[in-house]
Symmetry: C2
Subunit: 336 residues, 2 copies
């Protein structure tokens, strides 16, 4: 097999985040489920936005964030996702391309606006998200270039893609093409509510179509409908090649075959905004993984990337992540 052109190709909803700081009282008043991602229509999104404080806008989307962070680390990446040819679509396209990511999904010429996600950040650094999927629901199988899929070591899929019907088909086609080409498929479970919506499908995917699974504690417990992390850990064993399970300040646990590796969390001076923590973990992990790193190294790289992202507002690092990664990996080794 020739050396693939890409380390990872991501497929996900192409979203611009609208980030605003708020407080618990606002969430209570609006009846919003704190920490969750809720799908909303355009009118609902506008109604909450009108009541929210000043915001800043930046590119988001779960898989897109992962790809952006990986590109920042120096990986060769591609992305597929649907925007409209509007202002937010141009922002999304600019931001991901400016990182050197191959992104050529044709924008929709009409129909719903580019997706946006109102991210309400509370003082405890938790984020509550309201997503208007807009144009991203029109990602069709034909939008995913299977030549790119075949030419990437890993095809990375976000669980949120399971929400729009067309995207689900694109998701399946991509996973099939990747596997047929001898490549690997990674899946992030995205959100416990997303798991609730699509549990049977996700269990089926993990059984035979996914090599690398990313989930946080709440998501993996939701998947297996158990209350205990260790019980969930037992359940996932043997169901995919690698499962990387994140546990916030408790670090992460990676299961692969008979092996289980637990890694502590990377230190963070101050947690400002947890938006994108899981996305960044997957990025660091896959960066190590596509360079044949051992499981512990992959998990540490994931933890370091996540630590950088939660120490700032927004899901993509403003800092030089490559330098931070090198420095923190060295410190970690020295501490062992």
């Amino acid at each position: 097999m020739t050396n693939p052109r890409f380390d990872v190709v991501g497929i996900g909803n192409a979203i611009v985040d609208v980030l605003t700081q708020t407080d618990d009282a606002f969430l209570d008043r609006e009846g919003l489920a704190k920490g969750a991602m809720t799908l909303v229509d355009e009118a609902q999104a506008a109604a909450i936005y009108d009541k929210a404080g000043p915001a800043m806008e930046c590119s988001g989307g779960s898989a897109a964030n992962t790809i952006a962070v990986m590109a920042g680390l120096g990986a060769k990446c591609a992305f597929a996702g649907k925007v409209r040819n509007d202002a937010f679509g141009r922002i999304f396209t600019h931001d991901i391309r400016s990182l050197g990511v191959h992104f050529d999904t044709a924008p929709a010429e009409d129909g719903p606006a580019t997706a946006n996600c109102l991210v309400l950040v509370t003082p405890d650094a938790q984020r509550t998200m309201l997503t208007y999927l807009g144009a991203s629901i029109h990602l069709k199988p034909a939008d995913v270039d299977l030549d790119v899929i075949k030419d990437a070591k890993v095809t990375y899929l976000e669980g949120y893609l399971w929400d729009p019907e067309d995207a689900k088909q694109a998701f399946r086609a991509a996973a099939q093409a990747a596997r047929a080409a001898g490549r690997e498929v990674a899946l992030s479970l995205s959100d416990p509510f997303c798991v609730d919506r699509h549990r049977a499908d996700f269990l089926d995917l993990i059984e035979g179509h996914v090599d690398i699974l990313f989930a946080n504690e709440a998501e993996i417990k939701a998947l297996y409908q158990v209350d205990d992390f260790d019980a969930a850990l037992d359940k996932v064993k043997g169901h995919c090649k690698v499962a990387a399970l994140t546990r916030s300040e408790k670090g992460s646990v990676v299961v692969s075959g008979g092996e289980t590796v637990a890694v502590t969390a990377a230190p963070v001076s101050q947690v400002i905004d947890t938006t994108g923590a899981g996305d960044a973990y997957a990025a660091g992990f896959l960066y190590g993984y596509t360079r044949d790193g051992g499981l512990a190294t992959c998990a540490r790289m994931g933890g370091i990337a996540a630590a950088e992202v939660i120490a700032q507002i927004g899901a993509r690092p403003e800092t030089d992540l490559k330098a931070a990664m090198a420095l923190k990996l060295r410190t970690w080794d020295a501490a062992d």
Copy 2:
């Protein structure tokens, strides 16, 4: 005279900032004048944006930033400026209204897009700005509600307003109405290049139409075409009621009648991005001024607001400025 409804009404270009981190090599390659604000057309703006790195978008505009910072401090404010009814126009409108600012300039239904400013931030925290004025050039005298002007203690005008022809007329009409109502008029010189473009007009304004002048060292030297700050200081004396001149890390000097007050700069842990430093200074100063603060207090409040804004990315504080102001004013008093 009844108690006015507003402390300050600002009139300025209504702009959304597109902030990106870059380096000196990029500025050199593109032939951009570091630290300056350059007016560009839509195509020029797009050409540089395409080559720039990932960005974040947030509301900007010089006078609008001043008003936003004042509102954050708890002042009663209004703003007039022209957007289009497009995505950036909605962002601008949302952000300023969400701070409790009275903003009801009707958006343009057609014509150029809402103004944007590509802000290129270099590692030395300097910002180089490329402004596409777009819809903001269509601010007409009729867009400024003179009842609001008459009902504000101070009408604050940015020098940049002198660039679009229509806005200049709006500017003059507002200043006249304010003075006729016994209110005061404040002017920020905005930028040394802006001063070069409109020197004769600005000198005339300062002579008889402006009560409070804001300028930084480069601007006041450009206005009087002198190389020395003290020479500029001598020239400005007696030409308006108050001149507040900022000198970056050297603090600020306020001249009023026979009085000259110099105040040191507020401490900053790390300067990240100087975008909006002058705007924030004017906000802090006017907050004190409209509460009958002494000149030294006004200057300190200006310095504290500026210090908060340069310690972060973007021109409007992400932190609770009201709390920071109270704390730092106390510390300052204790140090005297």
